[in-house]
């Protein structure tokens, strides 16, 4: 069984799975139950100045009957007294010395940060996470994402905290920014020991169409909240990878955003995360999901010959390239397996309306659309493939016109029925190669044919 333990900027954790700073990490009682279930660490619900919360606080997005594809919240930082939280932190650290407790912090003046950091470190935390990400409520008071969106401010406050902190300082970034590298590099300049991302995305989750008020509704109004859950994972993966591949970022990353399964976690780790933080999946299904997270990741590492989770970290980062460096001569062609096809013909509609008009049905040759690249009609295969399940409803691909976009494979409900077969049009060549060789124009817009500018 692979070794799941990690070292995050000097913080040792039995596994990479931490609870994110959120309701599942609100109290000592909860966090101890989470540690009993197997969680390696927890980032305590953000500590700071006293606040009040509203009712209601959460809104969800369901998709095709699946609940909580996305979740949004308008809850603020902890609403429990600081002294109570500190007492519980001390208690948890005493009872679970091998598990990681990181205090998420949010306050205003330099002295406030000093006092808060000293109190938390005195309570025994393993590290600190600066909440520069919360996009609702707190940002209206000049904290949370309003700091994360101002790289100079972020850098300055980070450097304050480094003056006082004895434990590692993680900066938690907001995705509500044009280029994640700016706040990421500002954190590095401020002396951060690690980066956590993403915090939630500024959002309105929906509208109550009877009352015509956005949700979650508080009396007769709502406010923008923070969006999280499986729907945000692709956004988070990109931001993690963008930091991980930047030469200016040498500090560890704690990946956050829609992680529900070991597979999600493995993807974040492969794109450069050292630890991963989970919130929505626990809010939906409870702490018990960690069993599969650990087991699944371990099985994956074993089956791929990796002895430790550290061997996986960053392995997919070199594969994240600029578009201009992708091979233009690499070609895929869709193939439909008549043995597996059930005849739903979703690929036909998807290709015809949403892609490149190259999947057809029936025994006859079909006219190609006027914008086709090839000459003449699309040739039906002779004889027509007859499916085991779908009979003569098995569609066929006009291969000369297939651009290998994957859409048919993505909509096909049957695993393995549509596969993409590799072909090569020539030696590898990228757009940037073509520009360098003078056979294509510089990137960056339409150029005048005459002048070349």
């Amino acid at each position: 069984m692979a070794d799941l333990s990690i070292d995050f900027a000097g913080i040792k954790s039995p596994n990479p799975f931490w609870l994110a700073s959120a309701p599942p990490a609100n109290s000592g009682e909860q966090i101890m139950r989470a540690f009993d279930a197997g969680w390696g660490g927890a980032v305590w619900k953000t500590l700071g100045d006293p606040i009040m919360n509203v009712t209601s606080r959460f809104g969800g997005v369901d998709y095709d009957g699946k609940k909580l594809m996305g979740l949004n919240n308008i809850e603020l930082i902890t609403d429990r007294p600081l002294e109570v939280n500190l007492r519980e932190i001390r208690e948890v650290k005493k009872r679970y010395p091998k598990n990681v407790i990181i205090a998420s912090l949010m306050t205003e003046t330099k002295n406030d940060w000093k006092v808060l950091i000293e109190k938390c470190e005195d309570a025994g935390v393993d590290g600190l996470e600066l909440n520069f990400g919360c996009p609702h409520g707190m940002c209206e008071r000049g904290m949370g994402s309003s700091v994360g969106q101002e790289p100079r401010l972020l850098q300055e406050i980070t450097s304050w905290t480094k003056e006082f902190a004895k434990t590692p300082v993680l900066v938690k970034l907001t995705p509500n920014t044009g280029d994640i590298l700016e706040p990421g590099l500002a954190g590095v300049r401020g002396g951060a020991d690690g980066l956590s991302l993403i915090n939630t995305i500024k959002s309105i989750i929906g509208v109550d169409l009877d009352r015509l008020v956005p949700v979650p509704r508080v009396a007769n109004a709502s406010t923008n909240g923070g969006y999280c859950g499986p729907a945000v994972k692709p956004i988070a993966l990109h931001m993690v990878a963008a930091l991980a591949r930047d030469p200016g970022i040498k500090i560890p990353i704690s990946g956050i955003g829609g992680i529900s399964t070991w597979r999600d976690a493995a993807e974040f780790i492969a794109l450069g995360s050292t630890s991963v933080q989970v919130c929505t999946a626990v809010m939906h299904y409870g702490y018990r999901i960690v069993e599969d997270l650990m087991e699944g990741l371990s099985e994956y590492l074993d089956s791929h010959g990796m002895k430790s989770v550290n061997e996986l970290r960053g392995r997919a980062v070199p594969g994240y390239q600029e578009w201009g460096d992708l091979d233009l001569n690499y070609q895929l062609i869709a193939k439909i397996d008549p043995k597996l096809c059930i005849g739903c013909q979703l690929c036909v509609t998807a290709c015809n309306d949403g892609a490149h008009q190259c999947i057809f049905t029936g025994p006859d040759d079909k006219p190609r659309p006027p914008h086709a690249h090839s000459i003449g009609p699309a040739r039906a295969p002779k004889p027509l493939p007859i499916g085991l399940l779908a009979g003569d409803r098995v569609p066929w691909v006009d291969e000369p016109e297939c651009v290998g976009c994957n859409l048919c494979q993505l909509v096909c409900p049957v695993p393995g029925c549509i596969t993409m077969h590799e072909e090569r049009k020539g030696a590898p060549e990228t757009w940037n190669d073509r520009v360098a060789a003078g056979r294509d124009k510089l990137p960056g817009g339409i150029h005048d044919e005459e002048t070349g500018h």
Binding site: D64, G65, I342, G343, C344, Q345, L346, V348, T349, T361, L388, L389, A390, R393, P413, V414
Partner: protein, 460 residues
Amino acid sequence: MERALVDKKPLLGLAEARAEADRCLYCADAPCIKACPTEIDIPTFIKKIASGNVRGSAKTIFEQNLLGYSCARVCPVEVLCVGDCVYNGWGRDPIQIGRLQRFATETATAKGAAPVLKRHVDVGRASKKVACIGAGPASLAFAGYLALEGHQAVVFEKKAVAGGLNTTGIAPYKLHAEDAMHEVELIKSLGVEVVTGVEVGETDGPGKISGKKLLETYDAVFLGVGLGADTSLGIPGEEGPGVYGATAWIEKMKLGMSKDDKAEIAGKTMLVVGGGNTAIDVARESAQLGALDVAMLYRRGAEHMSGYAHEMEGARIDGVRLVTNVQPVAFVRQTDDSHGAPGGKLIALRVAKTDENAKPIAGTEHDIPCDLVALAIGQSKLRDVAKQLPGVELDKRGCVACDPKNGQTGNAKVFAGGDCINGGKEVVNAVADGRNAARTLLERWASSSTTISATQSGTS
């Protein structure tokens, strides 16, 4: 009495319907549509349930099948839409299309709901008058679609209740008579006039109207009379108590019997002669109403039965036995004559084994003890009504001869549909017939009058 038979497939709840609708793949050129005689756009109505657009879902159904509510409940979906769901081949449970269709149509037409379809009333258009003979599904569909386009439709029914076999013949665990009447009311709400207790015949008078008068008064006549009385065996002892025609028995059970009449079946031994779906219905209903023992007698092997395999499976679950390769030859009655003329109390049915041609083999006769026998061996053809309409011909089977595409008979003004043209098929086939005839007329009238085509585009 039929209330004693509970719904085998009750109305889905909202969450159940949404969950089932979400399973639908939304196939392109979907096989389920092709399997439906009325070609309802099934994936579209299902996706509308999934999105919460239940009225729109019902509209999609009714545009193709005005009796989509009863069809949802009585269609043999196992051999139509559901049977062709692509999930079958994939080894997954097919989408429960019938139950989703019931959910949409029942929810959208519940008491107090806004009408799903509205009549296209257009004062600038010449309105036509049509008459229907028989108030079954074919006529109701024909009349309904024409009424929707602003024409006047009157349906004449000789019985006291409208709805045809939906009201008097469908197994109650699929559709109760009062639910069939709910659908008749929906059709009436489109502007269709339904006149019960009037028989079409040779003469005019109270409770009568002649074919001649109909042809004089109306621009078109639709013949949807269905089938006639149950066929009898014509063997000794048939006349007398304890012997029923199947459709007459079902009609009595659905409309006439009180709960006290349950004693007529409870604890009794019943034999049902026949191998079709009506035979299976009677057998299942009797078993569910408390008959002690119910057996179906069929003259060939089970593989030749015209009843659906899924219905026979349900019958077996209800406790019905099937005896194959036997043919009744006589009814055995008590001879003391204490039970009145012409026959004494029924005590057994004498049957003979059959040969490969389903003919009785001499010497194989034996008695099967019983209290009741239901005959489900077919229904006679109603030939007389057609004779009142000049130009309307009958085919060799006694069915009304017409163009199967639109029901056009030998008389240009007369269309026909339903069981009287096909000898007995499903409700959905009857609806398709009525609808197709109505569409043919609408096209004909539109092409013969520019006024109509101009105003039709402006209807809403």
